[in-house]
C-alpha cells in the first residue's frame, strides 16, 4: 500500500480534494509539527532502529519511527531475565540498554537517513543534565524529526518514572529540554499515576508540543517454583492488549485536559484498536508490543485504519479525533 499522500498532486484545491477523498481518504497527518504519511508510529523500544524490520516492511510506509530510548552514555541494561509473558500482555525490564547518544548518531542515524520517514528519538536519563546533553546532541544531528522525552520508564531506579509522577520535576525537565532545541518535543507519560492530567498539563505548560500516552504499567510476576521474581529487576512494565482499556481511558482523560496533540498507545494490535484511540482523542497512534507478534503490525494497522475510513466515508483522521459521543 502506498499512502494517498504520495499520489496527491499539490494543485488540487480544497473542494476537488474533498471530492476525491470520498474514495481515497487521506491518512496524512501533521502532529506536533511532525508531518507524517499516516498516523501510525512505532513505539519506542519495540522497533529497534528500524533496520531490524526491513525484511518485512518498507520503512517509508510507516508514519514515523520512534527509536529505542537513548541516554547520554551507553547503558548496559538490566540483568536477565528481562521479559515475561502475562495474559494478553508482557512484562519487560530491559533497563534501557542502548548505544548512547553518540553511538546512535554515529551508527544508527545514518542508516535511517536513507528513508523518507520521520525519525523520533526517545530519550531518557537519571538527571536533568543528561536529558539536556542528549537533547543538544540530537538537535545538532541531521535526520531527527522530533524528540520524545521519556519521563515514564518504570525500569529505572532513579530518574525515569520519578519525573513522570511529579508535576514540578516534569515542569523543570520539559522547560530545560525545551530551551535546548527547536525540534518538536513530545513528552511520554506514565500510567502509574493517580491523575495523569496533572502531568499532562504540566508538560503542556512547560512547552511540550505533544504527549505520548501511555508508557507501560508497572507490574510483577513470580515463579512459584523458585519463589523468585520472573524478572531480574523484580518489577517491569506491562504492555500489550491487557493494558488497552487503561490506555484508552488515559488518552480520553488527557484529551479533555490539554490542547496539544496526543499520540495514543498501549495494546494496539489492529486498525480497529487504533480507531478507538483516535475517537478517545489521539491524533496519532504508536504500535508497540504488536511488532513482536507480527512484524508487519504497523503497516497492518495503517491498512486497517484506511479501510475503516473508507467504510465510514470519512476523509481524514481529523474527523475522528476526540469524536467520542456521549449519549
Amino acid at each position: 500500500m502506498t499512502s494517498s499522500w504520495q499520489q496527491k498532486p499539490m494543485r488540487y484545491t480544497w473542494s476537488e480534494d474533498e471530492a476525491m477523498s470520498d474514495t481515497h481518504p487521506s491518512l496524512e497527518v501533521t502532529v506536533a509539527d511532525i508531518q507524517m504519511k499516516n498516523p501510525v508510529m512505532t513505539a519506542s523500544g519495540t522497533f529497534g532502529y528500524g533496520s531490524e524490520y526491513v525484511d518485512f516492511i518498507d520503512l517509508n510506509q510507516i508514519g514515523a519511527i520512534v527509536v529505542k530510548g537513548i541516554t547520554s552514555v551507553p547503558w548496559v541494561g538490566n540483568a536477565m531475565p528481562r521479559i515475561f509473558e502475562t495474559p494478553s500482555g508482557m512484562l519487560n525490564a530491559i533497563g534501557l540498554q542502548n548505544v548512547g547518544v553518540d553511538g546512535f548518531i554515529d551508527k544508527k542515524l545514518p542508516y535511517l537517513r536513507n528513508f523518507d520517514v520521520p525519525v523520533i528519538v526517545n530519550i531518557c536519563g537519571e538527571q536533568v543534565e543528561e536529558y539536556l546533553e542528549v537533547t543538544e546532541k540530537l538537535d545538532a544531528a541531521d535526520g531527527v524529526a522530533a524528540i520524545e522525552l521519556n519521563i515514564s520508564c518504570p525500569n529505572l531506579h532513579c530518574g525515569g518514572m520519578s519525573f513522570g509522577v511529579d508535576p514540578k520535576l516534569t515542569d523543570e525537565l520539559v522547560k530545560g529540554v525545551r530551551k535546548k532545541t527547536s525540534l518538536p518535543l513530545l513528552v511520554k507519560l506514565s500510567p502509574n499515576i493517580t491523575d495523569i492530567t496533572v502531568i499532562a498539563r504540566a508538560a503542556e505548560d512547560a512547552g511540550a508540543d505533544g504527549l505520548s500516552v501511555i508508557n507501560t504499567a508497572l507490574g510483577m510476576a513470580i515463579d512459584i517454583n523458585t519463589r523468585r521474581p520472573q524478572l531480574a529487576n523484580i518489577t517491569g512494565g506491562l504492555s500489550g492488549p491487557a493494558i488497552k482499556p487503561i490506555a484508552v481511558r488515559m488518552v480520553w482523560q488527557v484529551y479533555n485536559a490539554v490542547s496539544i496533540p496526543i499520540i495514543g498507545m498501549g495494546g494496539i494490535m489492529t486498525g480497529d484498536d487504533a480507531i478507538e484511540f483516535f475517537i478517545a482523542g489521539a491524533s496519532a497512534v504508536a504500535v508497540g508490543t504488536a511488532n513482536f507478534v507480527n512484524p508487519r503490525a504497523s503497516l497492518d494497522v495503517v491498512e486497517g485504519i484506511k479501510e475503516y475510513l473508507e467504510q465510514h466515508r470519512l476523509h481524514s483522521i481529523a474527523e475522528l479525533v476526540g469524536s467520542l459521543e456521549i449519549p
Binding site: G45, T46, F47, G48, E52, Y53, D55, F56, K68, V76, G77, A79, M80, P81, R82, I83, F84, E85, P87, S88, G89, M90, N92, I94, Q97, G240, P241, T289, N291, F292, V293, N294, P295, R296
Partner: protein
C-alpha cells in the same frame, strides 16, 4: 560465517504433529522459503494461536529440513507448547524465520562432538546433518531423563553418527549425566582436533563449558532465553558475554546467538 538469508513470516498449515517420545512432539509443516535457507542452529518463531491470551510467539530450532518442509521437535513445557501439541493436520500456524546465527565451522573439527541434553538435541540435528554432508567425523552424546524421553537417537544413527546415550535413571545407556559421557569420551579416546557443540539445560551447559575450557577444546553452545521479538529489537533475550577488552555486555540470543562461544559466556 555464512551470510544469513532474508527472513520471512508466513502462514502455513500443520502437516503432522506427533508424539514421538514421552512429553515430546514432532511438528511438520511446509515452509519452502525457510526450508531453502535455514542453517544449522537457526530457529523459527512460531505464532501458535492468533488472538488468544498467549500473546508472544515461541522459538524453536529447525530440527530437520526435507525439500519444502521443515520439522521442529519440541518438549511440553507450559501453555504454549500445550496448545501447540493440540494442533492437528490442517491447522494453521505462523512461522517467522530463519532466525539467529549458525555454528562456526571455519576450522574443521575431528571429531565433532555433539552434546544434547533433553530437547536440546533438537538444536543440533541440522548441525549433525551438515557435518555428515561435509564428511566430518561426528560423535553424538545424547542425554535424557529416561528411556521413554530419549530423543533423536535413531535420527542420528540414520545419518551415520556414532551415538551414545546417558539417562538420569540408567534405563538405557550410561547411568548418569551426559557430561560424564563427555568426560569419559575425552579421557578414553585419542582425539586429534575435537570440538564440542552443546545444547541443553543451563546446568549441563555450564558443566560442558567447564570441560571444554579445562581441556582447551573449542566449545560452542546453542543458548536459550525467553524471546519477545526474535528480531533483535526488544533486547529481552540477552545473555551476558565477556568482551575481549574486558568487562561484559548483554548480547541478544536471537541475533548475536543462539550459538555462542562457550568461553565468552558469563554465567
Amino acid at each position: 560465517m555464512p551470510t544469513l538469508a532474508k527472513k520471512v513470516d508466513l502462514s502455513t498449515e500443520v502437516i503432522s504433529n506427533e508424539l514421538i517420545a514421552e512429553n515430546h512432539y514432532l511438528l511438520r509443516c511446509s515452509c519452502p522459503e525457510i526450508a531453502a535457507s535455514t542453517l544449522p542452529g537457526q530457529f523459527i518463531h512460531v505464532l501458535i494461536s492468533q488472538g488468544s491470551g498467549l500473546l508472544l510467539r515461541r522459538p524453536f530450532t529447525v530440527y530437520t529440513v526435507e525439500d519444502d518442509q521443515i520439522t521442529m521437535l519440541y518438549q511440553l513445557i507450559g501453555e504454549g507448547t500445550n496448545v501447540l501439541s493440540g494442533l492437528k493436520c490442517g491447522d494453521s500456524i505462523r512461522v517467522l524465520g530463519p532466525l539467529g546465527n549458525t555454528f562456526d565451522l571455519s576450522v574443521t573439527p575431528n571429531p565433532a562432538i555433539i552434546v544434547g541434553g533433553g530437547a536440546g538435541i533438537a538444536s543440533l540435528m541440522l548441525l549433525a546433518t551438515a557435518l555428515r554432508d561435509a564428511d566430518v567425523h561426528t560423535l553424538a552424546l545424547v542425554g535424557s531423563m529416561n528411556q521413554a524421553r530419549l530423543l533423536s537417537v535413531k535420527d542420528l544413527q540414520a545419518i551415520g553418527v556414532d551415538t551414545h546415550i546417558a539417562t538420569d535413571d540408567g534405563s538405557v545407556g550410561h547411568h548418569g549425566f551426559v557430561t560424564e559421557l563427555l568426560n569419559h569420551t575425552l579421557e578414553t579416546r585419542d582425539l586429534q582436533n575435537p570440538a564440542i557443540y552443546a545444547c541443553g539445560p543451563d546446568g549441563m551447559l555450564r558443566a560442558v563449558t567447564k570441560i571444554g575450557l579445562d581441556s582447551g577444546i573449542p566449545t560452542q553452545l546453542a543458548m536459550e532465553n525467553r524471546m519477545g521479538c526474535a528480531l533483535g529489537v526488544c533486547l529481552g533475550c540477552v545473555c551476558k558475554v565477556q568482551l575481549p577488552e574486558g568487562g561484559f555486555e548483554y548480547q541478544r540470543v536471537c541475533t548475536e546467538g543462539p550459538v555462542f562461544n562457550a568461553k565468552d559466556i558469563v554465567w
